[in-house]
């Protein structure tokens, strides 16, 4: 398949991944890393059982429910323009505490998630939606891939799941996206797309896309990725702190590492964008 396809049609939601957006707009991983976490690596959390994920762009506020494994419901979900809801059939207490702050209470063998809290500490969140997709370009028509929508900054209000007779429970997170001026990997939107601000980036990939944050320690050039990379060409790295692209000289698909041609200065935030076969 060619490296780039710009005409495609999606066939169904594949996955929803989330991670933190750091104070200056960098992608901080689900571990919410900071410049102090030198040498550490954190990727995106996949939230399983994804059912609904409308586009946050203006004017598109209705979407059919179509989830993983071809699961389809007859409902149509509506959200206010600009807001969007992520709906899951699978609960994830770690994600809930990530989105609204606090910690789960460890109750013996179990984690207990608190709901209905009035004091919340909303996490600025980077969301990556992927849909199974098919090329519509004449040369590659019918070849499959993934349409990825990166929503660069959102804050979510979880709405506790409903318990229903003969139906899966739902867990709904209502998000409000905000415009940003700097991409999660450090380049300004103006430099990238000649627009001063925006909310989303859309890209077609052969394999699902993901983001990984690593904090440079001044020496490490070979980073352990939490997911399996595909190739050096499909693994990009940026130094958010300097705003410069880095060269990924090699990846190892057996040991899941990416090797940069240089180590960043200690405390620099490095952001990898890569295709992975692990999703």
């Amino acid at each position: 398949m060619p490296a780039n396809i710009s005409q495609f049609a999606s066939t169904g939601l594949h996955s929803i991944q989330i991670g933190a957006r750091g104070a200056t707009g960098f992608f901080a991983g689900f571990g919410n890393l900071t410049a102090a976490d030198t040498g550490d690596v954190s990727g995106m959390r996949r939230v399983y059982g994804a059912v609904t994920a409308p586009s946050p762009s203006e004017g598109i506020n209705r979407v059919r429910n179509r989830g993983e494994d071809g699961y389809i419901t007859a409902r149509v979900f509506a959200a206010e323009p600009q807001d969007f809801d992520l709906e899951f059939e699978a609960a994830d207490l770690d994600v809930e505490t990530f989105l609204i702050g606090g910690i789960p209470y460890v109750l013996g063998d179990w984690d207990a998630g608190l709901g209905g809290s009035s004091t919340r500490n909303y996490q600025d969140t980077v969301v990556l939606l992927s849909a199974e997709s098919t090329s519509m370009e004449s040369a590659t028509r019918g070849q499959s891939g993934y349409e990825n929508l990166l929503i660069m900054s959102s804050k979510f209000v979880p709405r506790p799941g409903g318990f229903a007779f003969q139906a899966a429970n739902s867990n709904v997170y209502s998000g409000t996206p905000e415009k940003v001026e700097v991409a999660p990997w450090g380049l300004t939107l103006d430099a990238m797309s000649e627009r001063t601000d925006g909310m989303t980036y859309r890209v077609f990939t052969t394999n699902p896309l993901t983001l990984v944050c690593a904090v440079a320690d001044g020496t490490t050039v070979e980073w352990d990725l939490p997911v399996k990379p595909v190739s050096a060409g499909k693994t990009k790295c940026f130094n958010f702190t300097t705003g410069l692209a880095m060269t990924v000289s090699a990846v190892n698909t057996t040991t899941d590492t990416a090797t940069n041609s240089a180590a960043g200065t200690s405390g620099d935030i490095l952001v990898f964008l890569l295709e992975t076969t692990d999703l």
Binding site: F30, G39, V41, T97, D217, D224, T257
Partner: protein
Amino acid sequence: MLTQEQYGEVRPDGKRTQPALCAITGKPLDSGDVFLHMADSPFTVGVKAAKWNRLSPAMRADVKAELFRRLPKPSEADEAGPPAVSELDTLSFEDLKALAKEEGIETTGLRSAKDYAGAIRANRALRSLADAPLGGAE
């Protein structure tokens, strides 16, 4: 001490393995979690992001230091080769038995740590004699 599944080690090819379980909660790790590397350590420790992202940078440094403190240390014996003759008296009975077996010593009749240490000393002395160049005129 952390369990084998809670830390990753350096593989023969020099790459680190990712731990399977969180070093704090013992829960399975996934791609969103945090993998801690220490520049001069051969080990990696994984921590659930839900725990990690609640800690302040100062607390993270403390937790990281504590986790690395709890890692098994690389065996000094493995790095330095077998213990010297002068160190034999400091070894435990079990270590001496293992060492005697390693060096291929006949252990029939040996009962105490002193017996084993003596046998190892004698064996090494014999070996050094055998390895020494022959003296005398050509």
